[in-house]
């Protein structure tokens, strides 16, 4: 499988179809892979792929210095495919600027789990292929279960829970850096006049930041979990994201990243959208 | 596709010729019918007017049996039977509470997905091309008045079968035999079936209006797809009317060459022979 992957990358670079391939490279151990940026066909052997490749590489696509060099080849797990779908849907680049090398692992994170190449070549084909695998499925069992646990609490208990979790937030914004959807030039947390969100790492600002961050991912988060893994303080940000994603799915029958040609749910509406909560 | 056949009580009694013609026709057209084992009364009129749960439970049992016997759809030729089966099913499909109550009453599980129920016209419609090729004795020159009555098309929201005020499906089937459907005004008027016993005079008046109009528009016979319609129109003809009333399946049966006797045409009160000669 890895040879097929390298061969695709070699062809793309060799034929000049892309100027750069972004993929996973070998780290100190198979468990520790890190992103590699390959510009020469003879360097493709640096690429590896195994169940421990968990970085969402789509995060690099919106970085200023990536695209201008030419089209980009991207080793794309279902997470990257869906991220790219959202980014294209949001006009961040045209679909033909990214050549996807589709890969997938049967059980990410599990030692020895089978990995394979995806069949699709175009974004549309890969969306369909990934949708076939993932659409309609719940997020990871443990996340879903913990969301349910929280939902069973009283609002007061939940507030106390998040107050405690957020109290550890040091406002390093690693969550933002790791997220492909956080591509704003100037994040709202940096907005002053008026100051949207208090900037110091104190309870109110932490609360506002984490809630608004989750809201800004409504209909956009594809659930890769990069934010939570990036958080040095171990705040379970994926719970907030999963909750929002579920509400979007239940209310608007929409899941992010399976079709870049439909309007995003938070920029569209149906006249018969639910409204039982409105008096 | 296995079709469950639900004759209902009429077809074992007053409408035996409807049953005969269906079985002959199915054979002639090579359509498989499997009678639902241990079917029971659909509850028409008597049950659903008196006890709502009973009105649901009776059809429910037959439907549950059909599903359990691996039948994918039900053919209920009697218009009252098909009407009750469809109407009852619609009630529990939209309401889990009703479903649970009905399941408790019959002590059987109802199928999760709706079982399609077909009336006589609906059953023949998909086979229209087959009928056309099977016609050996085209009924050219026979003018027929297709009569729907009320139960085949009403209530429209539940049955969702044809246009309730201006249905055309029976004409489509009749035309496949070479017969010529006439345009007439009483196709969906009531024949008074429910008052057959209690107010015979009313029924006679209603039937007369229907038959007179059919004849005035040049019909040689009236075609029906409901035992009650048939009984009333066939039995309560005014003096000198002599307008034969045939089941749709008898008409098609004739055209595909089934012998009139096998179709039960001799069982009618108003003689048929002259009209089909």
């Amino acid at each position: 499988m890895i040879e097929q992957l390298r061969q695709r990358a070699r062809e793309l670079l060799g034929e000049g179809k892309v100027a750069l391939v972004i993929g996973h490279g070998r780290g100190s151990s198979p468990q520790a892979t890190f992103p590699v940026f390959i510009t020469k066909a003879d360097a493709v052997d640096r690429l590896v792929f195994n169940p421990f490749c968990r970085n969402n590489l789509a995060v690099y696509l919106t970085r200023k210095d990536i695209m201008p060099k030419g089209a980009v080849g991207l080793v794309a797990r279902p997470e990257e495919v869906r991220s790219v779908a959202v980014l294209v849907q949001e006009q961040q680049f045209d679909a033909d600027r990214v050549v996807l090398i589709g890969v997938a692992c049967a059980e990410p994170g599990k030692e020895g789990a089978a990995c394979e190449m995806l069949k699709g070549r175009t974004l549309k084909e890969l969306e369909a292929e990934v949708a076939e695998r993932l659409k309609g499925r719940d997020p990871a069992q443990d996340v879903a279960a913990r969301v349910k646990e929280l939902e069973a609490m009283t609002p007061e208990q939940r507030l106390a829970f998040w107050e405690k979790e957020f109290s550890r937030c040091i406002r390093c914004y690693a969550c933002r850096q790791a997220c492909p959807m956080c591509y704003c030039e100037r994040c709202i947390v940096e907005k002053n006049q008026p100051q949207w969100i208090p900037s110091s790492a104190r309870p109110l600002g932490n609360y506002f930041w984490n809630v608004i961050r989750a809201f800004h991912l409504a209909g956009r988060c594809i659930g890769c979990g990069a934010c939570a893994r990036a958080c040095p303080m171990g705040i379970p940000l994926d719970l907030l994201n999963a909750k929002v994603a579920r509400e979007v799915k239940e209310s608007f029958a929409y899941e992010a990243g399976f079709d870049h040609e439909v309007p995003p749910p938070m920029a569209s509406f149906r006249t018969d959208d639910e409204q039982e909560f409105i008096k | 596709m296995a079709t469950g056949y639900f004759p209902g009580c009429s077809l074992e009694g007053t409408a035996a010729e409807f049953d005969m013609s269906i079985r002959c026709l199915a054979q002639a057209l090579d359509l498989e019918l499997r009678e639902i084992d241990d079917w029971n009364c659909c509850g028409a009129s008597a049950a659903h007017q008196t006890n709502h749960l009973l009105g649901l439970a009776l059809p429910a049992r037959t439907i549950a049996l059909a599903a359990a016997q691996g039948l994918e759809e039900i053919f209920a030729p009697c218009a009252a039977c098909s009407n009750r089966l469809i109407a009852a099913q619609a009630e529990w499909l939209g309401d889990a509470g009703v479903r649970a109550e009905v399941e408790r009453a019959i002590d059987m599980a109802l199928p999760a997905a709706p079982v399609p129920v077909r009336n006589c016209i609906d059953f023949l419609l998909p086979h229209i091309e087959k009928i056309k090729t099977a016609v050996t004795r085209p009924l050219a020159g026979k003018k027929v008045a297709c009569y729907y009555g009320c139960l085949l098309v009403r209530p429209p929201k539940v049955l969702a079968f044809d246009d309730p005020e201006n249905p055309t499906s029976m004409e489509t089937v009749a035309a496949a035999t070479g017969a010529e459907p006439v345009a007439w005004g009483f196709r969906t008027e009531c024949c008074g079936a429910a008052f057959a016993m209690s107010s015979t005079a009313s029924v006679e008046r209603l039937c007369e209006r229907i038959l007179v109009n059919a004849k005035a528009e040049g019909a040689h016979m009236v075609i029906v797809a409901c035992p009650l319609c048939h009984a009333n129109l066939d039995m309560r003809q005014p003096k000198g009317m002599a307008l034969p009333v045939l089941y749709l399946t008898q008409l098609v049966g004739l055209a595909v060459g089934v012998a009139p006797k096998a179709l039960g045409l001799k069982k009618h009160i108003t003689p048929v022979a002259a009209a089909i000669a």
């Binding site: 507030l159 109110l204 609360y207 907030l240 509400e247 938070m266 008096k279 | -």
Partner: protein
């Protein structure tokens, strides 16, 4: 124990669209329909203009509840602002609930320019409801920390 909250007068901050609910509240005034004085209305162009951050800011400033109100579906002065708003609040109120803000403190309504009576009754109803909930001390704790 009932007396503990009887004294409490909640602060309710309302964000109203100019064309329907603000006008409906004007109509309540011209009709002299009485309601409790706990509500403070901020006039905006459209419910479509109202941002989630406004609600958080209102809680920061000590609101015990917030209300967002605008035109009924189909009546938006700008055609579709309320439809977009409806989607926004569908998600945001669930997120707030999940992050610990009692949904009974985050309220939404459609009040048309003709519904002065609905406005007065709504304000009376939600004021009583929030009064019964008591002050939003748990959030105040976060604000003051």
């Amino acid at each position: 124990m009932e007396t503990t909250t009887a004294e409490f007068e909640p602060k309710i901050i309302a964000f109203l669209c100019n064309w329907c609910t603000y006008a409906g509240a004007d109509l309540a005034g011209t009709s002299r329909l009485k309601y409790p004085a706990n509500i403070r209305a901020i006039r905006l162009t459209c419910t479509g203009r109202i941002e989630p951050m406004f609600l958080l800011k209102a809680f920061q400033e000590g609101a015990d509840a917030v209300l967002v109100s605008g035109c009924h579906p189909g009546d938006c002065h700008y055609t579709s602002g309320n439809y977009h708003a409806r989607r926004r609040w569908t998600v945001f109120r669930k997120l707030l609930e999940f992050s610990g803000i009692d949904p009974r403190r985050v309220l939404f309504s459609w009040v048309s320019a003709a519904e002065g009576r609905k406005w007065s009754e709504l304000v009376a109803e939600i004021t009583a409801q929030v009064r019964a909930l008591g002050p939003f001390t748990s959030f105040e704790r976060i604000v003051k920390a």
